[in-house]
Amino acid sequence: MSTLSTALPRPRRVLAVARRERARSAAGRRGLSLLLFSLALLLPAGALPLGRGPELPAVRGEPPAALAGQVRLDERATVELRAGPPLTVVARSLPSELREALLAVEPQPAVELRLAPRVPLLPGRALLVALLAISMLTGPLAETLPGEREGRTLEILLASSLSRLELVLGKWLTWTLSASGVALLAGLAGMLTGTLPVGPWLLAMPVALGFTVALGLWLVRGAADLVGGAAVPMRVLPVVALVSVGLSMGLAQLHPAVAALVPLGGALALAGGVLPGLLPGALALLSSGLAAGLLLILTARAVDAQGVAPVPEGPGVLGTVLSGALLFALAVLGPGLFEVAGAPLSRPAVSLSAGGLLLGLSAAVALARRGALPELGAPRALLPGLLAGLLLALLPSLWPVFGLPRLAMVAAPAGEGLGAALLFGLGSGLWLRGALQPRLGAVGAAAVHLVVLLPLDPLRGLLIVGALALLQRRFGLGPALLAHLGLALAG
């Protein structure tokens, strides 16, 4: 079976698959509907003039009469003008539009800036058209392999004499040609209205879309049905497109040839007109083209290896819980890291409530996926929980507890701590006692509690996590949650 996919694809068979794919997608009114909507979105993006005209630079303070009609007043502006003479500009940097406006105050600049020539950072219109075309591919990609799988036609195709690569190539060809055709039509309309000049985008756009379709096919190779097949590209494709083009534009400041090596990003940057020169252009087309070929071979192998690719399972209870812990750590550690980086940004109390909310939600998802709630405990068992909560609440004042939540709460501005503490107590309680303990047992849950929430104070933390785990085991979830709330409030 594997020899079929590694053999060279036969063009006639590839074209036959492409024709079948086109016939499937164009059946009934669906093909026309998709085409019309793609054109309705892309043609204005390519052909109509964008933007709301030049906007006046925003300033606050007292602009002089000479700047009347050249600037607009906005209390949130980062530049403040103080009346002079001389006029004082209070700012940490100056937008170029404002610098031009200030020529009214000083027609012959006393200081001239000569800046090193840089690769332009603002991409052209063709990039917008290419990104919009990429966003329109979500639905069609879901119809390719997942659609065949849902309709049970993939098995028939796999049983035929078609190789896997021919199957994948045929589907890729259909959607690359369709997307490129619509995008180029929008580009040509832009050339007619004068919004787009003739340029390397004519080559770069089909290559970028070809890579995107190849990536999309690889992403949906394991999707069981149309809905799963639509969700993955929608989540991943815009991120990959934006990150790769951002990376490429950043690298272009080092050297355009380096930027061209980023698959997809290089081609999109070339389409946007930010990669000057013949070598970067050729490298951009080559890197995306080769990467697309590799993705197509990988997709064919994924289909080839197991016939129908296995449906990837969703994250298990443990995965869900661990991703909650990661999000919690990001929320609590994030602001601290910005402090370390020398750019304090945020308010720790908010991060604690975010951490609590994320832990609570990940616990709720884990419980819903498992379909069973731990025993809440009898109402009379709430008393031990209340007592344990009070005892644990008193403990920090006798024996201070340190840990990530404690650190965050200490740094919290007055008045914001109570709500955040309640949210954190409830979220962490649900996560540890509701989701984690039934899965990992009392010892495992206590260990995770210690490592994730109280890493800075393991000795004293041991007493707390042990008490809470035992409380849950002996009396159920309700008393343990009460104790968690008490502990969080005391912090």
């Binding site: 001239e112 639905g139 069609p140 990661l326 994030g334 994320l358």
Partner: protein, 339 residues
């Protein structure tokens, strides 16, 4: 009425449970938060380990006679002064990061200062401030001390929140359309039509369940962003974002439940709904004066800084009206089975 309410709640609960048991839904919910928070924390780590480029000690090459005029101010601005007979060449050969010199003003009789720099960043701006004072220029620069939280960061964090809201609105379209598609493909819609409740209750229940799951995920992600970077206008972003997500769910559901939708496949209605939502956001960004008052479009308007007072009321009411229309449409066309 009681039966209708109970049906809606039961379907909402079942929809919510079904969604969180789907691996792709859970991954979709966690993805924006993990990606955005990971990127921000990664940036902070890199800046923390490598040092901020703003903190670098920049070197300024000047001729001896020019340096004598400004050396005290240059030292006070934490810039390293390098005396060089040819400052421009010093920059070209990498012996200094910036250079400044005086030359005859081509447009007048006097002299002017010239600054050669790789970019117009904060360091170049500080040098310009010193030279403007020295030249007694018509306008001078005062560089304020860096605050704990710059306006640039506030704007960027707000933009991050908007991107997350846009992503959740697009999720809403796909999941709304996906729910309707799956239920029709699996025969659930036919079975539900036999129940002694109006058909619209099926759409209402699904939208409530989907809205709650996506809304909670969106709020948690925005709260995470807010926790890390303290977003600008968090209430406006969360409010407009939630309305946009719920409306997008309704549009997705409605696209697949239109008359004769069963013959039209999944991709075309889905692309149409996605295109419509994207176009609405584009309308908001392009015409913020109008878009700020419309659901979904208000996200685009927020992105260009427009959030007029009182707009949340019509945005919410119009959003509810659109959800009502989608529910009615489902009822009329029996989830796309009817004509």
């Amino acid at each position: 009425m009681r039966l209708v309410g109970r049906t809606v709640l039961t379907i909402a609960l079942a929809t919510g449970l079904r969604l969180v048991r789907e691996g792709f839904v859970v991954r979709a919910l966690a993805w924006p938060g993990l990606l955005a928070a990971g990127a921000m924390v990664g940036t902070a780590l890199i800046v923390g380990l490598m040092g901020s480029p703003v903190d670098e000690v920049a070197s300024l090459a000047m001729r001896a006679e020019d340096a004598a005029l400004v050396q005290e101010r240059v030292a006070a601005a934490s810039l390293e002064l390098r005396v060089d007979p040819d400052p421009e060449r010093a920059v070209a050969e990498g012996r200094a990061s910036r250079a400044a010199w005086r030359e005859a003003d081509p447009g007048g009789a006097g002299e002017r200062w010239v600054v050669a720099a790789p970019s117009a960043g904060p360091t170049t701006f500080r040098i310009e401030a010193i030279l403007r004072d020295q030249a007694q220029a018509a306008w001078r620069i005062e560089v304020p001390p860096e605050t704990a939280r710059s306006a640039v960061v506030a704007g960027q964090s707000g933009r991050m929140g908007l991107i997350i809201s846009v992503l959740f609105a697009l999720y809403g379209v796909v999941m709304g359309a996906g729910l309707a598609w799956r239920d029709r493909a699996e025969g659930v819609v036919e079975a539900a039509l036999t129940l002694p409740v109006p058909p619209w209750t099926q759409a209402a229940g699904r939208l409530v369940g989907l809205g709650v799951v996506l809304g909670l995920g969106q709020l948690a992600t925005l709260q995470l962003m807010h926790g890390i970077m303290a977003m600008d206008r968090p209430l406006a972003i969360a409010g407009n974002g939630l309305v946009a997500t719920v409306v997008a769910c309704a549009l997705g559901l409605s696209a697949v439940a239109s008359p004769g939708a069963a013959d039209r496949g999944f991709a075309a209605p889905l692309s149409r709904a996605l295109g419509f939502v994207t176009a609405l956001m584009g309308l908001g960004a392009g015409l913020p004066a109008v878009g700020a008052w419309l659901p979904v479009a208000s996200l685009g308007a927020l992105a260009v800084g427009s959030s007029p007072l009182g707009a949340p009321i019509p945005v919410t009411l119009l959003g509810l009206a659109l959800v009502g229309l989608a529910v009615r449409r489902w009822g009329q066309h029996q989830g796309g089975l009817g004509r």
